[in-house]
Amino acid sequence: MGRAFLRVIKMGLVDFWRNRWLSLAATVMMAMTIFTIALFVLLNVSINQTAKTLQDKIDIAVYFKNEAPDNQIFELQNLLKSRDDVKEVQYISHEEALKRFRDRSKYRNTVQALLDQGFGSKLPRSLSVKATDPKYLDAIAAFIQQPPYDTMIESISHQETKALIDKYIQTTNFVKQTSLILSILFTAIAILIIYNTISMTIFTRKEEIGIMQLVGATAWYIKFPFILEGMMYGALATIITTIVLLAGVRGAAPSITNYINSPGFDFEQFFLVFLPLITALELLVGVVIGGLCSYLAVRKQLK
């Protein structure tokens, strides 16, 4: 068993080298496929990460009328805090609201001047409510707008943000679907090319295979070198893809980190955490596609 295995592996390696141009074509095609899949996996992961940071930023801001008593606001705050779907409720006082506005308007000199003159000293107090999941925001908003609290509410903001989020989710879904279709397309092309390549190498070795069958080689003994060859396309393609991907991420990481713009998020670090998983996935996809295509091609040709 071990002896035959070694002979067969040797044969697979020799075949790979003997047909190196065909092998190269198959490997390149496989690398492109794997690269596309890896890229889309990364894209999806990044999108999900962005969605998560975005969702963390979504909150309901409840602005209160100036005449609303503080104790009722605190009562509402406590009520909200006791709800399961509420993650966090933050009270923003007149002073806090002013401070925040001032910070945000730092560079607008006119606004600054107005603020210095005492305008905006009565900016509305508010509660900033974060849900455990954005889908609960509607229910929370409805709860807040019930009596007796509805009378003390000046305005409640979450409709605009909701529209924005819906738009974002729509876009990401489109990107996800497109990437899935492209991945499937590339996989199909790779399968065809590898199938053809193996068929061609079998054709060039038709005589040798005939002799092998004549002198009593088992089907497994004849087939395995080809299957190994196919698996090698996958393994080599994984190495190429990983190198390209690493170089690409090195180059693009700063701008992606900027784009996602989430505190404490560094795309390169994020990628490096995922790298072993992505590489393992690539290897699995490559070896399975390569091996399977070869198996099918060999089975058809050896009938």
């Binding site: 005589e207 040798e208 005939g210 069958q213 002198v215 009593g216 089907a219 003994y221």
Partner: protein
């Protein structure tokens, strides 16, 4: 040892061989003759289980080879040796490697290879050429390599399909002598040939085929077509 029992092989509607029945005993040397299209090649293909008959049984050493599964087939092939007109050698392997290849694919160890290959090369008279490549050899030498490869498994049956078809008379006789030698050592030889001179000189059993049927089966036959 080998028995054909009412064997018919059809390709489409045309019968390549029809209702063949004969028996070959151990140690026999049998010559198959017949013009092109007489069914000789089909008979050989049936005997090496490359084709399955449409009807009938072929029993070799007590086993009906028409029922061999594709899994069993390689093991049957190791028990028979086959030689063709076109030698079928691997062009990039030396004489030694070509012979050893038959053992390698049957998963025999390197020690077995070293034990078995040289005596076979000596038997066919190619001991000095074991490192030569096939294209450095004459036709007769190449055919001897292919016979050596067929014999390295020590088969009980050697099938030779037109082994001298590409050879000049001197080489032809060398090959026929070799087949005799092998037969004397106890191997059944089934020789398919066109060569009238060879058949007439052999004075062995001759089975004559025409249009897929046996028209003559003589113990000391002549080429009668």
């Amino acid at each position: 040892m080998i028995e054909f029992i009412h064997v018919t092989k059809k390709y489409g509607d045309r019968a390549a061989v029809s209702d063949l029945s004969f028996f070959i005993d151990r140690n026999e040397f049998v010559t198959l003759v017949g013009p092109s299209g007489s069914g000789k090649s089909t008979l050989i293909k049936l005997l090496i289980a490359e084709e399955k008959p449409t009807k009938g049984q072929i029993v070799v050493a007590g086993r009906d080879i028409t029922t061999l599964s594709s899994r069993e087939l390689p093991y049957y092939r190791r028990k028979i040796g086959v030689v063709f007109q076109d030698y079928r050698l691997l062009p990039h392997k030396t004489v030694y490697e070509n012979v050893a290849f038959a053992l390698e694919v049957s998963n025999e160890s390197s020690t077995e290879l070293k034990d078995k290959v040289p005596p076979i090369l000596e038997l066919v008279g190619l001991k000095d050429k074991s490192k030569s490549m096939p294209d450095e050899l004459s036709g007769g030498e190449r055919q001897r390599v292919s016979i050596a490869r067929a014999l390295v498994h020590e088969p009980k049956l050697l099938i030779a399909d037109e082994p001298t078809g590409n050879l000049d008379p001197i080489n032809t006789w060398e090959i026929i002598d070799l087949l005799f030698k092998i037969n004397k050592k106890g191997t059944i030889v089934v020789l398919a040939t066109h060569d009238k001179e060879v058949v007439d000189a052999l004075k062995k059993r001759v089975i004559t085929l025409r249009d897929g049927k046996i028209v003559a089966d003589q113990a000391k036959g002549k080429y009668i077509l």
